[in-house]
């Protein structure tokens, strides 16, 4: 038990050192803008389709469930703001985190793992290229930048889904739907979700690159690294969401924000 705890703490420490050194190196020359843009294109652009699709149906399903529940207490006018708050503060960042961790995080771990077992990382090392600066920093940085952008897409498309269900299918009043959202949802709610998503980007970027970078044992090792990277990232996204929500609440309380 003591050994397990010690190993866990040691692993977390290694990850933090790995992340900080990679990001710090990113600030030193040579600049890696082209690498960052390449990874942003992969993590961001290529996730827009799947994020839009899942968020549309999340908006539709959530709105339907809330409508069915609120109909019982005759509060259907609150479907819009309830969906909006749920999506911007919780579902948007969490579902985007899970989807992107699975898609891009898994690909990152597999790519780095393959590079490791095929000696490509060794080749970079002996070529005098700082592998953390070249391979890790840009990936983590791109994940942190792309996650809030993807979450914003998720929030918007989910609300489009909610609008379609509420206004076109259930035929509630469009003006009430929009006005209630406007009255309830504040910029801070959206920012809260975007902040969380940036943290999730940092977490899955770190976990997946770390697992991939330290892959051992050939093809089997690549599979294990990918699996561990994705599973750990997804679990951490869900656990961290709870703590971040509380942290943000405490932050608001400290600043006297309602």
């Amino acid at each position: 038990m003591v050994t397990a705890v010690r190993n866990f703490v040691s692993e977390i420490g290694s990850m933090v050192v790995f992340m900080t050194s990679s990001l710090r190196l990113l600030m030193s020359p040579p600049n890696r803008w082209s690498e960052i843009l390449k990874h942003m294109e992969f993590i961001g652009n290529k996730s827009v389709g799947i994020i839009s699709l899942t968020s549309l149906f999340t908006g539709l399903a959530l709105s339907l469930q809330i409508y069915l529940g609120f109909k019982i207490i005759n509060a259907v006018n609150l479907v819009g703001p309830t969906v909006a708050l749920g999506v911007t503060r919780e579902l948007g960042p969490v579902l985007t985190g899970l989807i992107v961790a699975a898609r891009a995080g898994g690909a990152m771990a597999a790519r780095l793992g393959t590079m490791r077992v095929n000696e490509q990382i060794d080749a970079l090392d002996v070529m005098g290229v700082n592998t953390r600066q070249y391979l890790i920093g840009p990936r983590i940085f791109a994940a942190v930048i792309c996650m809030p952008l993807l979450t914003a897409v998720f929030d918007f498309v989910a609300m489009v889904g909610s609008y379609i269900l509420v206004v076109f299918l259930i035929e509630l009043d469009q003006a009430i739907f929009l006005e209630k959202i406007r009255q309830t949802v504040q910029v801070k709610h959206i920012m809260e979700g975007l902040f969380k998503s940036a943290v999730f980007g940092l977490v899955f970027g770190l976990v997946c690159t770390y697992r991939g970078f330290y892959t051992t044992g050939g093809a089997k090792g690549v599979g294990e690294a990918t699996n561990q990277g994705v599973v750990t990232s997804m679990v951490l996204v869900i656990i961290l969401d709870y703590f971040l929500t509380n942290l943000i609440r405490l932050f608001y309380l400290a600043l006297g924000i309602q």
């Binding site: 040579p30 000696e119 060794d122 080749a123 002996v126 005098g128 700082n130």
Partner: protein, 251 residues
């Protein structure tokens, strides 16, 4: 003879108990082609990683071109590695880059003052130097044969005109024809690049004796014998005799 690489009484342990290298000393003469041979598990790859600065010795020193690698900080070590060109067993080409991009990569990384046109020109010249047909320059590594991949790997290793060329088991797993082609390529490259020191880690005894100026045989983490190929035929050391007779029989 001036030494390009000096390995001085190096001991290496990964767990603090068992030593993989047990006081290994070796001097690789400048401008020579030196082969490091030995049975599996004798420490050849670990020695190579010490020379490349990828491992730090537990005890002892590794000096390359007069610089003690243990005195360099990680950034200095990274820069220092530009003195090496390495051909890996698997060629280790970047699979998302074309042949030309692979060879251009070290130039883009370390010769930032070069224009894209100059980088392309140098990369093409290196590829032609190792005998690769220009029609393959824009192909991905997966679209060319194993022999062409080795040529590309060698061209990439030569890109920065390194002082030390390292071949890590370059012919392991290749068929006899390809093996001979790679051996000849190593020999030609060594002759054509005056001033370069070459080190080849190999299981292929016949090739080592045919192309190397010096051979170092490792056993149990130490140098069992270092000398010219003919010294190995004359050696009275039992293990050397066994290795030589087995190697020749196999060849």
């Amino acid at each position: 003879m001036e030494a390009a690489i000096q390995v001085q009484d190096v001991k290496k342990s990964f767990d603090g108990k068992d030593f993989v290298l047990k006081g290994l000393s070796l001097e690789v003469p400048k401008e020579s082609l030196t082969a490091i041979i030995g049975f599996s598990g004798t420490g050849k790859s670990v020695l190579l990683k010490h020379i490349l600065g990828l491992y730090q010795p537990t005890y002892g020193k590794v000096k390359v071109l007069g610089t003690d690698l243990s005195t360099l900080d990680p950034n200095e070590l990274t820069k220092f590695r530009c003195n090496f060109g390495v051909l890996f067993q698997s060629a280790a080409l970047f699979d998302d880059m074309s042949v030309l991009e692979n060879v251009s990569f070290p130039l883009i990384e370390h010769r930032r003052s070069l224009s894209p046109g100059q980088v392309k020109e140098i990369a093409e010249r290196k590829l032609q130097m190792v005998g690769l047909d220009p029609k393959h320059f824009h192909k991905l590594p997966s679209q060319i044969s194993g022999g062409m991949q080795k040529r590309t790997g060698l061209a990439r290793a030569l890109a920065l005109d390194p002082e030390i060329l390292v071949y890590d088991e370059p012919t392991t797993g290749l068929d006899p024809i390809l093996t001979e082609m790679v051996d000849n390529l190593i020999l030609e490259t060594h002759k054509n690049n005056k001033g370069t020191t070459s080190i080849m880690v190999s299981h292929d005894l016949q090739a080592a004796f045919r192309i190397a100026d010096f051979v170092a045989m490792l056993d149990a983490g130490q140098v069992l014998l270092f000398g010219k190929p003919e010294d190995f035929y004359k050696s009275e050391i039992e293990l050397v005799k066994r290795f030589v007779s087995k190697g020749m029989k196999h060849a």
